[in-house]
Structures are given as C-alpha cells and as structure tokens.
Symmetry: C2
Subunit: 341 residues, 2 copies
DNA sequence: TTGTATTATGTAACCGGTTACTGAAACCGG
DNA sequence: CCGGTTTCAGTAACCGGTTACATAATACAA
C-alpha cells in the first residue's frame, strides 16, 4: 500500500507565496538572506498549507539523511535501555532521526541485491557498539570519511575513530581498594568477564593495580573466567571452593556474576560478608535487591549514549571530536562488602 | 560534512551491462520478467560495481520508505528491551529499517519549520506504544490511511486500529485463582497499577472475576492504587496495616510493586508466605532474586513486539491485519505464594 | 551621473531511482 | 503468410527537494 500523495510540496508553497521554489528552500535552510517581506509571505504560505518538507527529496538532493544509525550485535542486557535513552535524547534534541540495527539478527532473504542495512546510504553517521562492525567495515568507513563513534570499544590501531567508554579500570581499582583498606581483605578472588571483552580487561587491570599498590602479590589461582552470566560464575566459585583455594573476598566482573557467586557461597555455607566480602560492577537494577544488597560500581550508561551521540554529531557537522572519552563511575557501597552492619 | 558521492548508480550499472536503466530497476524490483541473458549481464554488472540502490532516491520515486517507526512516550522499563528485540528481529528479517522516537524528549529548536519527527514522511507505518500519540494524531493517520498498530493500548472507539497486547485479565485471574485454590487465601489485597493504564485495568478485572468465581465478595478496602513503582506500593501496604485491615495475600499490579510490598511486610514482621502470600505480574528479571522468590505472571514482551511488527507489515503490504491480538501469559510459581516449601 | 559592488530572487539542472508509454521482435492459430 | 498477442526492453517524465548560475534592483563611491 502506498499512502496517497496529498501533502503539499515546496512548489505549492512557492505558488501561494508568489515566489520561486529556490526562495522557499532558502527560507527553510536559512541558506541566504530574504527580505523581511518575502520571509513573512513564505511563512504564511507554509503554515497555510501545513507544509512539511519531504525527507527523501531533501536527502536525495543534499546528500544528507538527517539520521543517525546505531549498530549493535544484540539487543539485550540491562545497560541497553539507559544507553538508548541517552542516545535518543540527544538525537531528538538535535533533530536527527535514530535508526537501530542489530547485526546478529539475520538479514532479509534479499534476493540478488546487496542491501547494507545501516551505512552511509541511509544515515549521516554511525554509533557502533562493541564489535557490531568488523574491522574491515570500519576501515572502509574510515576511508570514505564516514562519521563513526565507537561505544565501549576502542579504535583499531591506526584508524583513530573516536570512542566513548567508562572508567573500568579506576572503578574496579576503587572497589578493590575499598575491600582491602576498609575490610582488610587479603585474598581477593576475581571473576573475570568474557576473555576478549574490553570492559572486562580494564576491570582486571584495576584489580591488579590495586593489589600491587597494597603490596599484595597477584595470585593466578584466584582469577577465574566467568563470562557475563551468573551460571558460569556459580560454577567458577564452586570450583574454587572444591580446589580448597582460600579467599576472603570475591570481586566480580559484573553484577550478573555476583548472583551466581552469592548462590554458590550460600550453598557452601560461607556467610556474606562475614566470611567472604562480595562486590560487583554495573549497579544493575537488582543489585540492591540481592541478599545481602550488593556493593558495586555504577556505570553511567545513559551519559555514555548521550556523549557518544554528541561526539558523532560533531563529526557530522565537520567539527573534530574527542578521540577518547572516558566517563567516571561511582562506587556504590552496600552490605555485601561488609559496610553498614 | 557530506560524504563524497562516489557510489555507483543505476545508470552506471545500465551502461556496464549495456541495457537501459529501466531494465536495472526491473531487475532490482522483480517488477517485470527479464530474459535470462539480460538478467545475468545485469547481475554481473551489479556485483562488479558493488552497486547498492540509494534509499532516498528509491523512496522519493516510489513513495515508500522501507522503514518502520516506533513511537513511545519514554524509553525505559524492563519490558522495553525485549519488546524492542522482538520488533527489531522482524523488521530486520523483512528488510525494513527501524526508526525510534520518544515523544517525551523535547523537540529540536526547529525554527519556523514544523518537522513531524516520525510520520508518513519518513516511515511506511508506525508502531505506537501506550499513549505515545494522542487521539487527534491517530485520527489524522487513520484518515490518510497510514498503517498503524497499537501496542498495549486499544484503539480509540470507531478507529479500528489493530492492536497487540497480552492476556492481562486471564493472567491475573489465574494467579488469584491459584492463591485461593492452592493456598486457601480469602482476603486478597490488590495493589493496582496506574489508574488509567489499560494493562492495570485488565489485571483488576481478572482479580475481581476470580473472587466472584470463588464466591468471595469484593472488598474495596483491599484495593489500593500503587502506580507501577515500589515506593507507592510500600506506602500502600503500610497504610493497609496501619488501618488494621486484615489480609492473607497481596496481589500486585506489577513486580516493581512487589518490591515495596515485601519491604513493608518485612518491616511489619509479617512473614511471607506464611502470614501473607505475595504474587506479582511481569516476571521481571529480579523476580526470582527477591526473598522469597516472587510468584508472578510472565509477559511475552518479545513476542508482543514481533507480532505487532508482523501485523504492521501486513498493513503496509495492503493485506488486512487482526484487529485484536492478545498473547497468552504464563504463571510462574515460586515461593512467595507458599508453593515449594 | 555613471560604473560597480551588493543584495534579493528566479531559472533550471540535478540528485538516483521508478514507471507509464511505446515499440520491436517473437510467437501463434488459421 | 498474415493479423493479433505476448514478451522484452528503451525513452523520458517524474518524485520533491537543493543549488550553481544568471539577473534585476538597489546602494554606494567617485
């Protein structure tokens, strides 16, 4: 079905205002000075006809889409909603449309034509969330000078694509500092996130740095890969206990992991925080609802989205963007570390 | 900044293949039969030039955008991510772009021009989430026969706009049945959601129906408005207790409410489920993490999104859509109602 | 007063597709 | 072998904006 083509065009407005189409266009885009008189006649005609410029025509003629694309591998996770809210608030405020595409979902049965879902064809710039685009595509985009900003992922070497992320390292360092300094922990286990994940690497660095600063030697036995899911973390802790490795605290790569950790500790009758202090990362919605409530690090997801979008819009406007933006995190002290009771 | 215009066009392909542009277009859209020979030459030329049709040109000429718009008041809530995932999976699979706009965020400082953010101008159809568009706009869209599907909201009288929602009523009825039949509850308090919310109304209906079916008379003292937030529910339960109203179960309009309910009961030293059984609605992520784990009703948010999108695409293709789609919910039994220990 | 710079506006080509209309060739039955 | 279909392909107008270029009108300097 095709919508009836009844909307008024720039030529209708021109006719009614008694001027040429060029004048209307100039008025619309403020691209040249108009006499006060003309401007008023144009405005009157426009309101009269309830004129609204046709985006496709505009886009075709000007080679601008007025849209920003967000590409991610998968729509999911708790960070997702605030991130999107941040992005949307800026695109809206700046008058851009927001296009979303998940690269995980299968492509349409496209027949013979190759349709690039989100690209320089239908957007003015791309927001790329962790690994949503492979390096080949990033290189291609860089080569054609298409604006791109990476989120929670740093630029491949040499490409110099601006990126926005959070203080993974110092955030995790602060928590571990806290465990050591306030709760006198000495043997802190670390449940890593996914091995190749950049966030997870930064968090490990912070962990190691804190240990080092406090003269505690790094013990590889205390570090386990946990993914970002509770089941893996649960298994990891059970294994730790089974192998008889002693620890007085567990710091997890994210809050989901903490769920599994708490479960495993409960089953092993280790009390939290008396026997083992626990801390997470993310400040997920449920963190305060766990028993005991989870000490963790709050990631400013909404700001990440907003800031990345602002940077992208700068690029689109031809201004230069900040290559690395690292937003601060906040430690949230609750009971699982031993504070407050 | 404008991307350099270096991509190949339909005319380049035509030249290379030694045919006319019309032929290329026909091949692209399968709009007329081509001889096997020509088809092959066209395909070769297309791959050779890495041709990808320009969406704006296509859209301008055909008056189709190949995009679907999602309008909502606010980006937030736990249902949001799965809903969006459902929508995106279908739009992707069917080759549509997905545009998102929140009507809550303020419009750009648009100057003199009126820009309708998401409309028949830049989409082929609109998915409208609860109250994101007012009735005036819905009427306008209906009048110009623009495809619209409502989500979790029924069509204003007379408009006959297709809608997709969940079994609020029977879901809530089942839970209350369960409380009465399995746990012998007689005085079941109901913490309502927001007063004008359609979901919340349906859930109340189910509550009343279940009472009626079991010969329990409806007691207005046991029904309190709670919004969809835990703080209000917390206050509501405190008030109930303070007023000395006795109850042996609380059914809440959603899981967030249940958090406040549990807190208030804990503070009043009423044991869950021994003294008071508790049940919620939504099966939020945290439901299983509460103490005790919450008995609730699982809403198929992802399917809602997918189904609404499918209906919309039908409309876009000129087929007829189902006016009312009500997706089934599933009762999730955990411990807060008294089951399993 | 005349020549020139400046400003406001118009004309028409163009962006890259789609498609109505037209025509040539192939096919078919009698 | 001929008139009538059917099939395949080309020409060019069109979608609704933008903008390079041209021009008329006005301002200004000498």
């Amino acid at each position: 079905m095709t919508t009836s083509r009844n909307a008024s065009t720039i030529r209708d407005v021109a006719r009614l205002a008694g001027v040429s189409v060029a004048t209307i266009s100039r008025y619309l885009n403020n691209s040249a000075p108009l006499s006060a008189d003309t401007a008023e006649r144009v405005q009157t005609a426009m309101t009269e006809l309830d004129f609204s410029p046709h985006p496709a025509a505009r886009s075709l003629a000007s080679n601008k889409t007025n849209a920003i694309g967000l590409v991610l591998t998968e729509i999911g996770g708790e960070f997702y909603t605030p991130l999107l809210r941040g992005i949307e608030s800026v695109t809206s405020a700046e008058g851009f449309d927001l296009l979303i595409h998940s690269t995980k979902t299968k492509a349409p049965p496209s027949g013979p034509i190759k349709r690039r879902p989100l690209s320089e064809n239908n957007t003015d710039g791309l927001l790329v969330f962790i690994d949503a685009l492979d390096e080949v595509e990033l290189i291609r985009l860089k080569k054609v000078k298409f604006p791109v900003v990476l989120i929670h992922q740093s630029s491949p070497k040499g490409l110099e694509i601006p990126m926005v992320t959070i203080e993974n390292q110092s955030g995790s360092q602060k928590v571990v500092d806290h465990l050591i300094e306030e709760h006198n922990c000495k043997k802190i286990a670390f449940i890593q996130g996914p091995a190749n994940n950049e966030d997870s690497k930064g968090r490990e660095k912070g962990y190691r740095l804190s240990l080092k600063n406090h003269g505690i030697s790094f013990d590889p036995n205390l570090v386990v890969i946990g993914g970002f899911e509770s089941a893996q973390a649960y298994e990891a802790v059970r294994k730790l206990i089974k192998r008889g490795i002693s620890f007085d605290a567990i710091f997890t790569g994210d809050d989901d992991n903490a769920i599994g950790v708490i479960q495993a500790l409960n089953e092993a009758s280790r009390r939290i925080p008396e026997d083992v202090a626990v801390a997470g990362f993310d400040d997920s919605l449920f963190a305060r609802l766990l028993t005991p409530p989870l000490t963790t690090v709050k990631a400013p997801n909404e700001q990440v989205g907003a800031e990345a979008t602002r940077q992208l819009i700068k690029l689109i406007r031809g201004e230069s963007a900040t290559l690395q933006t690292v937003l601060p995190v906040e430690m949230i002290i609750r009971r699982s570390c031993g504070c407050k009771q």
